[in-house]
Chain length 687, copies 2
């Protein structure tokens, strides 16, 4: 039997309360499903399993009603034949992935209908219904018409064939081991369930840094094994993508070049695409990291990103596949002495000039910020800057720079801020979420990708509470109008049950955690200050004299990066007005991004009224205290959470609190030594 | 045919000059050796090979003279029988490892005699004779009586069974591969030649950090393979030692404890020692790193170092084996906030109280400085502090903190300074070299160990000029009264030939290189400032907030560690007077160690007259310029050095010069940002 850690948010806790059991009883006896498809079968199985876990008895499953009351799971095109009296007028509103949840009373029947236009819609409807059942929502008179707002809702695995995971903090890969795709698919199927339950519909199974073994995933030899993975995900409505090596024609094909304009290279990719689709008819496409951090790409042949991406796009186009081309391109051999180069500018500078030159089955994958998933950065100015090019947005669920799943850092509030950012690309109201859903410029392909945070740890995510980030990502990109509070509450109820004290306490913890983490780590949007390579723990100068373009420029007078148009790198000018002016002007630049855009004296007064140096001290002290507060909150729940998860989380929170003190002291001492300015309140800063 | 890189200082360049050939001709025809032992056979073979390479013809080897002129290689106890007319009165002066080189004319014979009391002495005599021949020294009327000043002249390999080398910068291990001892001993034999040629007589074959596989080297199963290594070294007069795992009775013996006072543990070690000597009758003994950097040791059982070492000593004693116990013991989990703990004090604090409690077949191996092989540190105050305990001195040939064999750093001048340091342990004139040779306190065992710098790179040492450090170590510990200049010149002549421009130029480079490296790296004895873990390249704060006890405490006012008795950690008080006072007083503390002993303002005036900050800038600028000067010196030799070695060295020097600029700029910028003080000469310091 799976542990509570393992079940994550698919607990389906046994319902004990009499009135809730009674309400559930009506719907727990019978499921009717008149049609069979692989995904619809999955939907019915999940529903039956969920009800069994919730109620204790397994419902019957039949093709035709065998009782007066039942749940009907079906797809629109079969409706007439089976249940002509079900109203199908709303079906066009749900699209290819939406559903209707509706309680219908007709003649002698009381029917709880889960209807999709497609089987995938029905599957999502089933998971929605199970959520409602878990949360004790009244199902009588239910009437929900729901569809996902975004097209691509993708997960990127950074798993390597050798079983390691780049920036993985939850054990080894569940996909690969010792350069082989695993044979036992049990855990992968359980992962597919988790993903489908929150609406994920696409997955790239291997790291964007593609090594030798993964390069061969698109070879005739390896495709049968990859196809088995695709089968598992397909049964949960998820399409499989592969991260490819741009120089595959050389590595695999024995060609002497990978020049995207060479006929033999183009031919090689076309043959390869055909071969892939022979094995995986619904293959999603390629994810590509090219000419970035020493990965090969079109630059080697004097070609640009569009020429590279379009070649791949042409190969995939006949089969309906797409190319996802990452925009994380910058000079990673920068000289720290060179103040004119600004890594933050790089994605925009590289891609903006190519607007309009990409094929329409290419989509550019843009990280949420211009740097690299820091605890705080501005929204990437590339988002919205290209009005003739498909764009999707990349988040990082795995907590590389946000505590590595040893610290609690619930990221939904951060992502929510990104989605609500107004780019002004088409005037006021040009929110990032309307780039994500493709409506701002009417794009053919759009959506979201995020780097997964799971591994083979029993609890999937290292820190049990980090499961909330995976859940929340799926829910948020399904519907960006959900609030972080709503998403958090749902996750807690599904994961730990409906006891109000648990719900309120854990919600408080989750919703405070990003700010707490920010409070004791790099201040005011300046970023980094972490130990090189592994990125865990404080090292203020760790990247200061490096080639990575990630500096804070702290000296004895002040700190920050001047990215203004007037005296700095001009990065601020990549934004549309009035964002450009907001960031350019010291008076209007938001405090939390001040040091990202401006170099200021330690004595500069923030909009909060505090000086920069006092803010640094103040937030470090508060942050470390708040990390202790997280422990207090959690321990107040002792006895209300099963011991296994209680202890696991407690241990992580204790480590976090200790480590928060280390952050506090290192940062405070660093700036005290540099500024010579004491804390106004006389708290301990080590010399 | 071996490359010039590979042959290192055993080139035996073919002699071209007519008058030199003529002088050599006399001695190139015949070798007489009336006795056979394994080592004497080695000596004869080396002599015959050397003459063949030098002169072009192989000499005859016979038991009795077959010509009027010959070289005689022999040992004292056979002298009477063979050549009664050879004077043996000087033999008692050469001891167990010395020799007489003497030209004797008797009756019809002209004899160049190489005489040892032992065969090892004769072997060293042969290598000495070959050196003379290489350098074109007149052999007529030769009369040299020579013996090594030091007893143990040891090499420590930090090789791991998996083939990696801890702090190795010249490729993989020549001893181990994939957890096996290599089968082909060719390269190991060539290494033994190199070592014997400079007088090394002991080698510990595995890393002091002993992992699982190496732990089993003392097992019945592994000893036959280890014995084969011992055989190779024995034929060159070198005894084999093994680094052992203190918890071997548990790891190998299945005991539940490794408590050194438990009878079953003591019995296990005795049985193990007996087993080792069954396989290796002349086994040297154990090298032990215990209770240091997480290695197990006696502390776990509430026992002290003496109890741990003595247990092992008792096991080895019946067979004449010894225990070499390392004193590199300190708290590697220090809190950087804690200014009262001082890692520099640790070795003294741990071991001084145990003086007199070690058995007389235990020798303590003490690193030359109190920290860890920095480019500059004071001599360890433990040296001389124990007058009832055997001590030996540990150097590091492998350039962990001194440029990793990518930078040229000839270490003999540094070691020479150590040996000439007057500890005042028994009053004026108590030089470290008299601790090394055991005479200061009349110790039974004494000598030197050094961490090897070789691997399987074609040139052994990564940087071809780094061969000089291995050669120089052997020569210096053979005779500490040799000057660095003499040793360097000898190495150059043997390695590159006798052309005066080459000799002078390379000597200038070698002799300047340590100071050059110091000039652009950590200033004024403060140490570290390197990137964590791999220790290559500048990172001023890399270890500043770490647990390693290695800090510089730079703030906006000043820098340095207060180790004085009055206001600091009291480390200075571990020295004998007047060293204690010299270091305690700012006015007498040598500039080059100022920041090791004192925390001073940047504006503090050094004895040189410069301020600390200006000294930092000045030396960084000069150091980087001098790194360029090394290139100029080397390129002036183009055509005079074979192209293979010329290019290899040039490439390294170019990398060094580039990297020296990185050091210069990072350090200068760091201190400019912190101090706000500009360079007096207005040179470029990046903001």
């Amino acid at each position: 039997m799976a542990s509570t850690m393992y079940k994550a948010w698919l607990q389906n806790h046994h319902v004990e309360q009499p009135e809730l059991r009674e309400a559930l009883a009506r719907w727990s006896g019978s499921i009717v499903a008149s049609v069979h498809t692989e995904v619809l079968d999955t939907a019915v199985k999940e529903l039956a399993l969920g009800i069994k876990q919730l109620y204790g008895e397994k419902p019957t499953v039949s093709k035709v009603p065998q009782s007066e009351t039942f749940i009907y799971v079906g797809v629109a095109d079969q409706l007439d034949k089976s249940f002509g009296y079900l109203d199908k007028s709303e079906i066009p509103r749900v699209g290819q992935e939406g559903y209707i949840l509706k309680h219908v009373v007709r003649e002698q029947h009381s029917i709880l209908a889960v209807l999709g236009e497609t089987d995938r819609g029905a599957l999502y409807g089933v998971f929605h219904l199970l959520r409602l059942m878990n949360m004790g929502v009244q199902l009588e008179h239910l009437h929900i018409v729901e569809r996902p707002r975004n097209q691509l809702r993708m997960i990127n695995q950074w798993d390597n064939a050798d079983g390691t995971i780049e920036r993985g903090y939850a054990g080894h890969s569940i996909f690969f081991n010792e350069n082989q795709i695993v044979e036992d698919m049990t855990r992968i199927k359980d992962y597919a369930r988790l993903l489908a339950s929150v609406g994920i519909n696409a997955i790239a199974i291997n790291n964007v840094n593609v090594n030798e073994v993964e390069t061969a995933f698109i070879s005739e030899e390896q495709l049968p094994a990859v196809a088995k993975l695709a089968d598992v995900f397909r049964s949960y409505g998820i399409r499989l993508y592969i991260s490819i090596h741009f120089a595959s024609p050389m590595e695999l094909g024995g060609l002497s070049s990978a020049d995207p304009l060479l006929p033999e290279v183009r031919e090689w990719w076309k043959m390869t695409a055909a071969c892939i689709y022979d094995h995986i008819p619904d293959f999603g496409g390629f994810l590509v990291k090219a000419d970035s951090e020493h990965r090969p790409g079109p630059f080697a042949y004097g070609r640009d990103h569009a020429e590279g991406a379009n070649m791949l796009a042409e190969a995939l186009e006949p089969f309906g596949g797409i190319v996802i081309w990452r925009c994380f391109v910058y000079n990673c051999m920068q000289d720290w002495r060179d103040r004119s180069t600004d890594r933050a500018r790089a994605a925009y500078d590289h891609f903006k000039p190519l607007d309009g030159s990409f094929h329409d089955n290419v989509v550019l994958q843009v990280k949420n910020g211009p740097m690299d998933f820091q605890v705080r950065e501005p929204v990437s100015p590339l988002l919205g800057a290209m009005n003739q090019t498909n764009q999707m947005i990349e988040f990082q669920i795995t907590q590389e720079y946000t505590g590595q799943q040893r610290h609690l850092c619930y990221l939904i509030p951060q992502w929510k801020e990104v989605l609500e950012f107004d780019t002004h690309a088409k005037g006021k109201g040009s929110y990032v979420k309307h780039i994500g859903d493709g409506t701002l410029f009417g794009m053919k392909i759009s959506g979201y990708a995020a780097v997964s945070n799971i591994g083979d740890d029993e609890n999937w995510t290292g820190h049990t509470l980090a499961q909330a980030n995976l859940h929340g990502y799926g829910r948020l990109v399904w519907n960006p109008d959900l609030t972080a509070e709503e998403i958090a509450e749902e996750w807690i109820r599904l994961t730990f049950g409906n006891e109000e004290q648990v719900v309120r306490t854990v919600a408080d913890m989750l919703l405070a955690s990003w700010h707490i983490y920010e409070q004791y780590t790099a201040p005011l949007g300046v970023g980094w200050m972490v130990a090189p390579n592994h990125h865990y723990g404080p090292d203020v100068d760790g990247y200061e004299y490096s080639r990575w373009g990630t500096y804070h420029f702290a000296d004895r007078e002040g700190i920050g990066v001047d990215r203004t148009d007037k005296s700095g790198t001009g990065y601020a000018g990549q934004y549309f007005s009035p964002n450009r002016e907001m960031y350019n002007q010291l008076s209007s630049c938001p405090d939390e991004l001040l040091l990202f855009f401006h170099h200021v004296p330690y004595t500069h007064k923030l909009q909060s009224g505090q000086t920069v140096i006092q803010h640094i001290y103040e937030t470090r002290f508060t942050g470390a205290e708040r990390a202790e507060w997280l422990i207090q909150q959690w321990t107040s729940l002792e006895g209300k959470i099963d011991p296994e998860r209680y202890e696991q989380v407690l241990e992580r929170l204790q480590e976090q609190a200790e480590h928060a003190k280390e952050w506090r002291d290192v940062i405070n001492t660093y700036f005290y030594r540099k500024s010579g300015i004491a804390d106004e309140k006389g708290r301990t800063i080590y010399r």
